[in-house]
Symmetry: C2
């Protein structure tokens, strides 16, 4: 499995709009086992996106899908900056689609 | 929903043992919508644990369960230190048990 933990700082006041874009249509892509958008309780313009894919190849392939490309085009103007980003190797747990 | 993103540094060489303890029995607790243990691809002794609960109260209640207390007792000696820890407010996504 291939995982990502990423932090995104939205433009001021744009956290809700950005999270809506990130959630719309991106949650059930091929090979995606978990995709969760969360916000910082202290700052609604700071988002955390955690992802688990069956492979890095599936993640790469998803980036080329029209729905993902559209989200990137829509979301990019709402992003102030990307914060920390960690690649991970998920080992297991619950909430991993049908792959547990 | 209530989320946690946490980083744990295991004692040298103990990452696999610690992740096994973290996964054993902890993945399907009441109110737990997602619980994923991952490791740093560059250092198998660095773990990331991402969690989503239906509420903070469910997370607190889980800490008192015997299976969780046993895991804490087993796992603590294998932990060198806790790294960053972020509370989050999950907004949605996939891989959230029955709560989507």
């Amino acid at each position: 499995m291939y995982g990502l933990i990423g932090n995104i700082q939205a433009q001021p006041g744009q956290g809700a709009a950005l999270s809506a874009i990130l959630l719309q249509g991106l949650a059930n892509l091929p090979g995606c086992l978990s995709y969760i958008v969360a916000r910082d309780p202290a700052d609604p313009d700071v988002l955390w996106v955690t992802e688990v894919w069956d492979s890095q190849a599936s993640h790469r392939a998803a980036l080329a899908l029209p729905v993902v490309q559209a989200a990137i085009v829509q979301g990019r103007p709402l992003i102030a900056r990307f914060g920390e980003r960690h690649e991970t190797e998920p080992l297991g747990g619950s909430g991993l689609g049908g792959a547990r």
